[in-house]
Amino acid sequence: MLFGRKVESDAFEAVALPHLNDLYRTAVHLVRDRTEAHDLVQEAYLQAWKAFHRFEPGTNCRAWLFKILINEVRHYRRRWFNSKTVPEPEQSFEETLAFEPSVPEDIQDEDVLAALDEIPREFREVVLLSDVQEFSYREIAEMLSIPVGTVMSRLSRGRKQLRMKLADYARAAGVGRKPQEGAYERR
C-alpha cells in the first residue's frame, strides 16, 4: 500500500512539479501578492494531487494544472472581493485611438511588470496565458470558461493597453517616477 502510494507520488511529482514555476509566476501576477500566490499555488497542487487518480496520462498536464489554479484564484477573489460576476471593463479612451506607439528600446523588466500589473485583471489573465504561457486561444477559452471570441477580444485590448502603458513608462523614464499604487515589492 505504502509502496503503491510512493509510486503514485513519484509519478505526480514527475509530471506536475516541472510546471511549478509557470504556475507560481502566473499566480503572482494574477493576485499581485506573493503570500497569496504561495497559498493558491499550494492549494492548486494539493487539489491536483488529490484528483490525480482522475488524470489521464498523455493528456495536457500543464493545462490541467492551470485550470485548477484559475479556479483557485476565482474562489480566492470571490472570498475576498465578493465579486461573483465581474463586468467586462469598458473601452478606455486610449483603446479607441488608432495610433500605435513605438515600443521603447531600453525599457526595463520592472517597468514591463509594472505596466502588466496595471492593466485590468481580465486582460492581464489572457495576456499571461497567451504571451507568457503560450496556450492556444482554445485552451485559454476552456480554462476560463469563456468563448474563443472573448479570449481574442480581451487579448487584443490587453495588449493595446500594455503598449500604451509601456510608452508612458518610456516617456516618464528618468523623471523620478513614483511606485504605482497597489504594486508589490520585488524580492
Binding site: R5, E8, S9, F12, E13, L17, L20, N21, Y24, R25, V28, H29, T35, H38, D39, V41, Q42, E43, Y45, L46, Q47, W49, K50, A51, F52, H53, R54, H75, Y76, R79, W80, A98, E100, S102, V103, I107, D109, E110, V112, L113, L116, V127, L128, S130, D131, V132, S136, Y137, M152, L155, S156, R159, L162, R163, L166, R187
Partner: protein, 299 residues
C-alpha cells in the same frame, strides 16, 4: 506636410489580424493574405514588429521570476503528507470532513480512547439559544480543527518549539505568532502538551493553528483567523461567560465543543473533544492571553 495613406482601410483590416497572426491562430489563407500585405506596407511591418517585441518583453520579464526554494520544499513536503485520490473536490472534502466528525460521534471513539465526551448538541438550553448566524461564526473555527487536526491527523505530528521557530515556509507561525506557544503552554500547565503550531488554509481561509493533546485522549485546537466583516457582537451573540472581561460564545457540533471569542481584527476558537465545562474552562484560561497577544498585533 501630412502624408495621406490611401491604403489606410486595407491596413486597418490587416492590423485586426495581427494578434492572431503573432499567435499562429489564423487560417492558412488569412495568414498568406497578411504576409502579402506586409510585403508591401512598411508601416504595418513596423507595427507588427512592435507587437512581437512587446510580447517578447512581457514573456522575458515574467519568466525571470522563480518560485522560492523554501516554497518548493514546503510544497513537496506537504504533498507527501497528503493522501491522493481521497478528496476529489472541495465539496467531497467537506462532505468527508463532516462524515469524519459524524463517524467519530457514532463510534464513540473507543478505539482512539477519546475521553470526557459530553452530551450531544441540543441537550441543554445554552446550545438551543445559539442563533444560526452565531453557529456559522463558530463553525469558522470548527472547520479548521476538523480539516487539519482530525482529517489530516496533524495531532499525531509533534514538532518541538525550536523546529517551529526555525520554520520559514508558508506554514511557519513567524514572528507574529511564535510567542503564543510558550504563552499558551505556561497557561495550560503540564496537563496539556503542545503538539504543533502552524499556519494553514482550510476552505480558502487562512488560519493560525495550535494543536494540543491532553489526558484521556483529549485533542484540542486553538484556531485564530482574521475577521472578514464578521463579529460575534454584530451577530447578536449571547456570551455564556466573560473571562477577564472577554465574552466567550459556545456551540457544539457532534462530539466537538467550540468556544469562540474575538478581538478587533481576529476571531479565536478553542475546539476540542472535551465536555462543555472542560472546554469552557480551557477557553477562559486561554482567552486573556490570546486576546492580549492579538491586541498587541492590532496596535
Amino acid at each position: 506636410m501630412n502624408v495621406v495613406n490611401f491604403n489606410e482601410r486595407a491596413c486597418e483590416k490587416y492590423r485586426r489580424y495581427f494578434d492572431a497572426f503573432l499567435d499562429n491562430e489564423l487560417l492558412v489563407e488569412t495568414n498568406q493574405d497578411v504576409l502579402q500585405h506586409l510585403n508591401s506596407c512598411t508601416e504595418c511591418t513596423r507595427i507588427l514588429e512592435g507587437r512581437a517585441r512587446t510580447k517578447q518583453l512581457v514573456r522575458h520579464a515574467v519568466t525571470t521570476e522563480q518560485a522560492p526554494p523554501e516554497f518548493v520544499a514546503a510544497l513537496r513536503s506537504r504533498l507527501r503528507t497528503e493522501r491522493p485520490g481521497f478528496f476529489a473536490s472541495n465539496t467531497a472534502r467537506w462532505t468527508m470532513a463532516a462524515a469524519a466528525v459524524l463517524l467519530l460521534a457514532i463510534v464513540g471513539l473507543g478505539g482512539l480512547q477519546w475521553g470526557r465526551i459530553g452530551p450531544f448538541a441540543g441537550d441543554d438550553g445554552v446550545f438551543q439559544t445559539v442563533s444560526a448566524r452565531v453557529q456559522d461564526l463558530l463553525r469558522v473555527g470548527l472547520v479548521d480543527h476538523v480539516h487539519c487536526t482530525i482529517v489530516l491527523q496533524r495531532w499525531k505530528q509533534f514538532f518541538s518549539f525550536e523546529e517551529m521557530k526555525a520554520e520559514t515556509g508558508p506554514q511557519a507561525l513567524g514572528a507574529e505568532f511564535i510567542d503564543l506557544i510558550p504563552a499558551v503552554e505556561a497557561k495550560l500547565g503540564p496537563d496539556y502538551k503542545l503538539v504543533q503550531g502552524h499556519r494553514c488554509v482550510a476552505n480558502h481561509r487562512q488560519y493560525v493553528h495550535l494543536i494540543l493533546t491532553g489526558k484521556k485522549g483529549a485533542i484540542l485546537s486553538l484556531v485564530i483567523t482574521e475577521k472578514d466583516n464578521e463579529s460575534f457582537k454584530q451577530a447578536d451573540a449571547v456570551a455564556v461567560m466573560k473571562a477577564s472581561g472577554i465574552p466567550i460564545y459556545l456551540d457544539r457540533q457532534g462530539i466537538l465543543e467550540i468556544a469562540g471569542f474575538e478581538s478587533d481584527k481576529y476571531l479565536a476558537y478553542i475546539v476540542s473533544n472535551l465536555d462543555r465545562d472542560a472546554n469552557l474552562n480551557l477557553a477562559s484560561l486561554m482567552a486573556p492571553t490570546v486576546y492580549n497577544h492579538l491586541h498587541k498585533l492590532e496596535l
